[in-house]
């Protein structure tokens, strides 16, 4: 049985979790015009409506932008490597969108492929994700094209569906969700992707974005048209920053750096992006992807062909952050729309 909770009660609960010393995060208007998922110092900062979605994603709470992997110390006795204190606070994310939550099971696959990345796993375990089903979308949203929907349940521990009367219907989807709300699990998260690629979860009455393309067709194009001038032409506007990758819920490429001084420091990983010119540069000076077209191709290829081949998941949740954040209006949907146009011509 699912519960109901009013918006005020939800906010109050968030306040209680904060007061209990838990790390709570959710959509916050950090300044006029900018909404980000951010730590909540107080429950009244939580933004429950008035915005399509934050400009960032929740991945930074589970896969931080900068994360120390271990420390090193150099002294007379030699070199010592220190495991850094395992300070993984219990986290609650209130007000995630389905396109953010569903990123987590997608990333699970990579971070546990052959070797276990427990940095990711521990934070994932320590995080409870309360998702609020979307009641509005804009022209950049395309979750329904990648097998999701505004009420998709993947990756969420609880899903709140707005009943339009100041209340949410609460679907408890996991033990973590049950523990947080003090209620029973109402049903395991429904895998939102049907074998034929269509969305399973019901869309809310407000309407879901129209399905714009078939990911399999994009995969086919990426595979068959690797050397096509299409990529060069359609990447001309791209200036080669990392805004798309960094605001994407599922992009996960990273760099490893040593930071410190001759006495010691840390080895850490930082987010990185395939759009940077130096991403694949060899020390010999050779660069397999010397032009932006090749780099844009890599993004689409990785998301729609390579990741599905390896892990059976599309590496995209249709959130639209890439296009909204791109300084020049590119992104997955604009590029994929061009692919569909090119294919139909």
């Amino acid at each position: 049985m699912s519960e109901r909770i009013s918006k005020n009660d939800l906010r109050q609960r968030a306040g209680e979790w904060i007061a209990a010393g838990k790390a709570v995060a959710g959509p916050v208007q950090v300044k006029p015009g900018t909404v980000l998922y951010a730590p909540l110092a107080a429950a009244d900062a939580l933004l429950l409506d008035g915005w399509i979605r934050p400009s960032n994603s929740i991945k930074e709470f589970i896969f931080p932008r900068h994360e120390a992997l271990y420390g090193y110390r150099i002294d007379g006795a030699g070199i010592t490597l220190d495991d850094l204190p395992a300070e993984i606070p219990e986290q609650i994310i209130v007000g995630a969108h389905p396109c953010d939550a569903s990123a987590l099971p997608i990333l699970d696959k990579l971070f546990n492929w052959d070797s276990r990345d427990d940095f990711f796993n521990r934070r994932r375990e320590a995080t409870t994700v309360i998702t609020i089903a979307c009641t509005a979308h804009d022209e950049q949203c395309f979750c329904t094209s990648v097998g999701l929907s505004p009420a998709a349940e993947r990756g969420s521990d609880a899903l709140l569906v707005d009943s339009g009367d100041g209340n949410y219907e609460v679907r408890i989807l996991s033990e973590k969700g049950a523990a947080l709300f003090g209620a029973a699990v109402s049903g395991a998260a429904v895998d939102s992707i049907a074998p034929d690629g269509s969305a399973l979860s019901p869309a809310p009455a407000a309407g879901a974005p129209e399905r714009r393309f078939d990911p399999a067709a994009v995969a086919e194009f990426a595979k068959e048209h690797f050397e096509d001038p299409f990529w060069r032409e359609h990447a001309l506007a791209c200036v080669g920053c990392g805004a798309c990758a960094y605001t994407c819920p599922v992009c996960h490429c990273f760099d490893i750096v040593d930071e410190g001084n001759p006495r010691g420091g840390v080895r850490a990983r930082n987010w990185d992006a395939c759009q940077f010119a130096l991403f694949t540069l060899h020390s010999s000076g050779h660069n397999p992807r010397p032009a932006q077209g090749a780099r844009q191709r890599q993004r689409i290829y990785h998301k729609f062909f390579m990741y599905p081949e390896k892990f059976g998941e599309t590496l995209c949740t249709g959130c639209g952050n890439c296009a909204r954040n791109c300084p020049v209006g590119l992104g997955v949907l604009p590029l994929v729309s061009e692919i569909c146009h090119a294919e139909s011509v």
Binding site: G78, I79, D83, W113, R122, I256, C274, M306
Partner: protein, 277 residues
């Protein structure tokens, strides 16, 4: 908690300078238990650390039959290799590995082996050569053609002499025209040309070809003319790497992560892979 990014600490037990900018370093595990349990397949690579400077990826160029050390060979080209260059015997480096697929030495049993290498590509071939020599009865005729731009760029020269002394091993060294010294006794010419001149029978052979793209491009037709199938010609690819374990998303050549599905590929594999390396 599993930390796949944390290296083993290694002690440098030997450093050898081969050319003006190439050194090889011999390491042993500081942890005796780890040393006992460690094993790898020739052709696999490791990620070596100069703490405070960074990590870099190199093939493990020693034979897996040697239990007392591992070795890697590098050219001094950047921040990390500058730091590795300064390291000496007794110093500590880091090692993560072994990563990658390695050479299918078991599948190569009973075959003749052809090794073709250019310049700094000798180290990833060296491990396979020594492995084969340590398991001599398993392999047929061994042909090694190794060349560099100049005599000063050749590495492991003493071992090339040693290999030539083994039964049924033929070693041909060459330098580019203009790269010879007055006392040079080897061939003069590019590896593909010199290899063709050598008239090696390739019908029952597997070939390992590693070198700059131009060398590989010109060697393939020669191998084909000599009767080799592209599924029997192997290479080891390089790509820029960071994690080495298929997570950081950097090293894919088309659909294959060079760190996981490679770095060893046959040319038949490569033909079906897009030019993304």
């Amino acid at each position: 908690m599993q930390n796949p990014y944390k290296p083993d600490l290694m002690e440098i037990i030997g450093v050898r300078q081969h050319t003006a900018d190439v050194k090889s370093v011999r390491l042993r595990f500081k942890d005796a238990e780890r040393a006992k349990e460690f094993d790898f397949r020739v052709g696999q690579f490791g990620i070596f650390s100069a703490f405070g400077w960074g990590e870099s990826t190199f093939n493990i160029c020693s034979s897996s039959t040697w239990r007392d050390h591992i070795e890697f060979c590098f050219r001094k080209v950047g921040r990390v290799t500058d730091a590795l260059w300064e390291a000496g015997e007794g110093d500590t480096l880091g090692f993560r590995g072994p990563y990658g697929n390695g050479y299918p030495m078991d599948e190569w049993r009973g075959k003749d082996l052809i090794f073709l290498g250019g310049g700094i590509a000798m180290p990833p071939i060296r491990c396979a050569i020594w492995y084969a020599l340590e398991n001599r009865a398993d392999y047929g005729e061994i042909t090694i053609v190794y060349g560099a731009r100049t005599v000063g760029d050749l590495v492991y020269r003493d071992e090339l002499e040693q290999w030539a002394g083994h039964p049924r091993v033929r070693v041909v060294q060459c330098v580019d025209p203009g790269g010879e010294t007055p006392d040079w006794k080897g061939e003069i010419g590019f590896v593909p040309t010199v290899f063709e001149r050598a008239q090696v029978a390739a019908g029952n052979a597997v070939a390992l070809v590693i070198g700059p793209p131009i060398m590989i491009k010109n060697t393939i037709p020669v191998l084909e003319r000599l009767g080799a199938k592209m599924s029997d010609v192997y290479t080891s690819l390089e790509n820029r790497m960071k994690c080495g374990i298929g997570k950081c998303g950097r090293c894919n050549a088309g659909p294959a992560y060079v760190c996981k599905e490679g770095p060893v590929f046959t040319f038949e594999n490569l033909r079906s892979m897009p030019m993304d390396y």
